[in-house]
Amino acid sequence: MYKLYTFLKYSFVTLWTMFVVAPFLWALSTSFKDFQSVNSKVTYIPWIDYQPSLEGWKVLIKSPAKGGVDIVEPYFNSIFVTCTASIISIILGTLAAYALSRFTFKAGFVRNNDITFFFISQRIMPPIVLSIPFFIFLSTIGLLDSLIGLVVVYIVLLMPIAVWIMVDFFNRVPKELDETALIDGCNPYQAFYKVVLPNSIPGLIVAGMFCIIFGWIDFFFAFILTFTEVQLLPVKVVALNSSVTPWWSLSASALVSVAPLIIVAFIVERYLSKGNLSGALK
């Protein structure tokens, strides 16, 4: 019985891993192909099925005038916008989450849960709904096509996530911890940053990871709200999706765009393995 379970477990886990990896392998293979190897028939393995070419990868650093996409600058733009917006969202979101977790708020029929839901509900809006108003909003305050403008918009995208994760997290941190800090002579701000924050690192890591992911993968706002000055990575990569799509460079750039986040995956896994991700304070 136990053996059967072990067998099933390993099979399932292995199958799922293959499913996860399959599109990446396909993209990796495609990134070395040319027009004919993509369009004449299905090919898999370089040198056996097709003659590999480095064109797809070279394109990434070539200038558009030579048929390249030059993703270097967008890469750094993306990193800047994602990180800045994530940090601001986490700071503001963590403060708000702390308030919502620890204190009671009453205003008419509004209670803590309603305020939390208000934060989270910002994610219900499909990006398409907000894109036009945001366009006009940013153009009014003169932040269209700027990194700052994107950061402002991304804060709206990311803060709800930070609030959601952190409220949940703080609810699991005993509030006696902050009370002790207060009794020991900390005012509420000192209690927050001297005692609560240092013990919230696992929660902050999860929240940070989600913020970074959701910031990094956004396409729509970056697409509508920028013109020529600022280009973000997804927009740049999607711009390869032309009528005659260069599948090879698209695949290569897809792989490159995933790379930094795989580091995030390792960091998160490290915290998971240390067993303190959800930060039980026992």
């Binding site: 599109p23 994610r123 709800p160 992911i213």
Partner: protein, 287 residues
């Protein structure tokens, strides 16, 4: 505890959010009462004409909404089941634990709009690997060109992309579970199955509800996948609400009407998510 300091914590975030959103929301509501489109880009006032059109003469929106409900509920349920199973499997003793955990996380890190382009070539019925390999067994599903299978393909891609989300939250939840109930169950000699049903699952209920609600919110925005894979086709077989709003708004440029759709959609979503959250809480947390 109750201090006036509590506002200092809450207000920066709340006001920044409101500050950034107040204009877009008011603008959207106002826009929904206008006839703004490509040829008359004006904030004129046409009363509830748009709303009348939506409620009396736009079956396509409602179809897309029910399709969306079907797709998002199906994908989220699948993600939950698979994510939970995976989390349980790499929770404790398994070889290469860390490798599997990292692997399971990766799909979430990819930009959907880019990955879906890859998926499209992957499911290409004559130039993609799936049907080429399946062809050796003599089958070749019409992944993208049949109304029923196209939905399945969309679901597959969504499940691939977002199961890690569930996996991560549930695994983190599992790892933070207190040990005592398990010891007690072990002493009682409960079978693995009973342990899961009576110990693990109830302990995981709050986390599960949170994860499901958030995923439902995210899944309801499903658009990139549909856009790239099928453009809502064949026919309207995979058209979802947000994709329909996108078509009306940014393709046909009926901004006023798109705002009407958006606002209605938002109201429906908030109401239904509140109900779903209540129902889930009742179902999963007994007492």
């Amino acid at each position: 505890m109750n201090f006036k300091h509590k506002f200092v914590f809450l207000f920066p975030g709340l006001f920044v959010l409101i500050g950034i959103l107040i204009f877009p929301i008011i603008f959207t509501i106002r826009l929904s009462f206008s006839g703004w489109n490509s040829y008359t880009p004006e904030m004129n006032f046409i009363g509830i004409t748009n709303y009348i059109r939506l409620f009396t003469d736009d079956p396509r929106f409602w179809e897309s909404f029910f399709r969306l409900s079907f797709l998002s509920v199906t994908t989220v349920v699948l993600q939950y089941i698979i994510g939970f199973s995976l989390a349980l499997m790499v929770w404790r003793d398994i070889k290469f634990k860390r490798f599997f955990r990292v692997m399971f996380l990766i799909p979430m890190m990819t930009t959907p709009v880019i990955m879906t382009v890859i998926w499209r070539t992957f499911f290409h019925e004559s130039l993609g690997p799936v049907n080429d390999l399946l062809g050796t067994f003599g089958i070749g599903p019409k992944w993208l060109s049949d109304p029923a299978t196209a939905k399945i393909t969309v679901i597959i891609v969504e499940v691939w992309q977002w199961t890690p989300f569930m996996f991560l939250l549930l695994l983190a939840g599992l790892l933070s579970l207190p040990k005592e109930p398990f010891l007690a169950a072990a002493i009682d000699g409960a079978s693995a199955f009973r342990k899961f049903v009576f110990v693990t699952f109830p302990l995981m209920a709050p986390i599960s509800i949170g994860a499901i609600i958030i995923r439902l919110i995210e899944a309801s925005k499903i658009m990139d996948t549909v856009f790239v894979l099928t453009s809502g086709g064949p026919g309207t077989a995979t058209e979802t609400s947000s994709f329909y709003i996108y078509i009306k708004g940014l393709r046909e440029f009926q901004m006023g009407y798109a705002a009407t759709l958006s606002f209605t959609y938002l109201v429906i979503m908030i109401i239904s998510l509140t109900i779903i959250a209540k129902v889930l809480t009742k179902l999963m947390i007994k007492e």
